[in-house]
Structures are given as structure tokens and as C-alpha cells.
């Protein structure tokens, strides 16, 4: 039994944040904002896939491109597993296609980070409303 409503509230925010990270738009979906969730899911996943298609999965490089990898990780924890696969170095990535792939996948991750923060903030506002009511 939580001591105050804030204890529950913090857990609620963490769950929403995790949901939004695991599946882009998942946080908004849990907050009953279905349309917003679908728009976010489709856009972030499509941008990420276009990046992978343009540059190959070699653009997810946890060894030689760590700052880009951190941004890519914001897409979903699934990127971690893709990073493990591409860390073997058997997937070629070079030239303009590599640059574009890296930019697309990283921007998709940063967009999802924006959505994670937005979902947490929305959940926080809803929690405040619930506490006042």
C-alpha cells in the first residue's frame, strides 16, 4: 500500500515511459490517446526502417559509432539486439547510404525520445488531475 498518491504516481510514470520506449506510441496508447499513438508508431517505425533499408543494419554500430547508437537505442530496446547482430561486422556500411541510414535511424530514435517525454508529461498531468478530483 503506497504512503501517498505520489508513490503510485511515480510508478505510473515509469510504466508509461517504459511502454513508450518498448513500442513507439505505446505510452500514448496506454493513456487512451489511440490516434496519437498510431501516428507516432507509424512515423517512427517507418523512419527507422527507411534508415535501415538505405544503410543496411550495419548502421547500428555499438562499437565504432557509439553516440549514434545511443540515439538509435531510443527507438526501442529491440535496437540493442540488432546492435548485437551487427557488432560482428559482417554487414557492410559505407558512403552516402551509410550516412543517410545513420541519420534516419538516429532521428527516429530522438523523435521517439520526444514522444516518451511527452507521454510521461501527459501522464503526470493526468495524475495531477486525478489527485485534485
Amino acid at each position: 500500500m503506497p504512503r501517498t498518491w505520489k508513490d503510485n504516481h511515480a510508478l505510473f510514470l515509469i510504466v508509461i515511459g517504459l511502454l513508450a520506449w518498448v513500442v513507439p506510441g505505446g505510452g500514448h496508447f496506454a493513456l487512451n490517446q489511440r490516434r496519437r499513438a498510431i501516428v507516432i508508431l507509424v512515423t517512427v517505425v517507418l523512419t527507422f526502417l527507411v534508415g535501415l533499408y538505405a544503410g543496411s543494419i550495419g548502421v547500428i554500430d555499438p562499437v565504432n559509432a557509439k553516440p549514434w547508437y545511443v540515439a538509435q537505442l531510443m527507438n526501442s530496446p529491440a535496437v540493442f539486439f540488432l546492435g548485437q547482430i551487427s557488432a560482428s561486422g559482417q554487414f557492410p556500411v559505407f558512403g552516402r547510404a551509410g550516412e543517410i541510414g545513420q541519420i534516419y535511424t538516429s532521428i527516429a530514435g530522438l523523435l521517439n525520445l520526444l514522444c516518451i517525454v511527452n507521454a510521461i508529461y501527459t501522464a503526470h498531468l493526468e495524475g495531477l488531475k486525478g489527485a485534485r478530483a
Partner: protein, 94 residues
């Protein structure tokens, strides 16, 4: 079915051929669209198809105009430094 799956998966393991030329700048457009759509999705109070499309289109237009102006200014500066400055200095300035 298996062949199709393999073809789709294989296309993600080799990079596309994209030349380094002016046309490759067009890759900016889908990225701007994605940024505008997600940003507006987090900003609007309620998502209604027509209003959302209008606001997103406006943001896409603003970004494209700003990027074009920035590109023109940078191109002008590069042209001055590489073409005009050496001519005024009577040779290479570097």
C-alpha cells in the same frame, strides 16, 4: 513465401547505392515530413485529420523554406571564399 521473406530481409543487409550529388539532398524531404508529423502529434490538443494535415504541412513548408535559405546563404559564402576572394587577392588566399 520463404523466398519473399528472404529477399525482404536480405535487402536490409546491404546498403542502397546513393551517389554524392545534388539529388541526394532530396533524402531530406521524408525526414522533414517525419519530424513535422511526430512533432505536431505531440503538440496538438486533439488529432483531427484535416487540421492535423494542415498544421503539419505548414511546419514542413516552414522547415523547407528555412533550410533552402540557409543552403543559399552557405552556398553564397562558399562561392565568395573559393571564387571571388582568390581573384581579389591575385591568387590563392590560403
Amino acid at each position: 513465401m520463404t523466398a519473399l521473406t528472404c529477399t525482404v530481409l536480405a535487402s536490409f543487409t546491404t546498403p542502397m547505392r546513393i551517389d554524392t550529388n545534388a539529388a541526394s539532398m532530396l533524402w531530406l524531404i521524408p525526414l522533414v515530413v517525419a519530424i513535422a508529423v511526430v512533432y505536431k502529434a505531440t503538440k496538438v490538443h486533439q488529432i483531427r485529420a484535416r487540421a492535423f494535415a494542415k498544421e503539419t504541412a505548414l511546419l514542413i513548408g516552414s522547415i523547407m523554406v528555412f533550410v533552402t535559405v540557409a543552403a543559399l546563404i552557405l552556398y553564397g559564402v562558399a562561392w565568395l571564399v573559393t571564387e571571388q576572394l582568390p581573384a581579389m587577392a591575385g591568387g590563392s588566399v590560403f
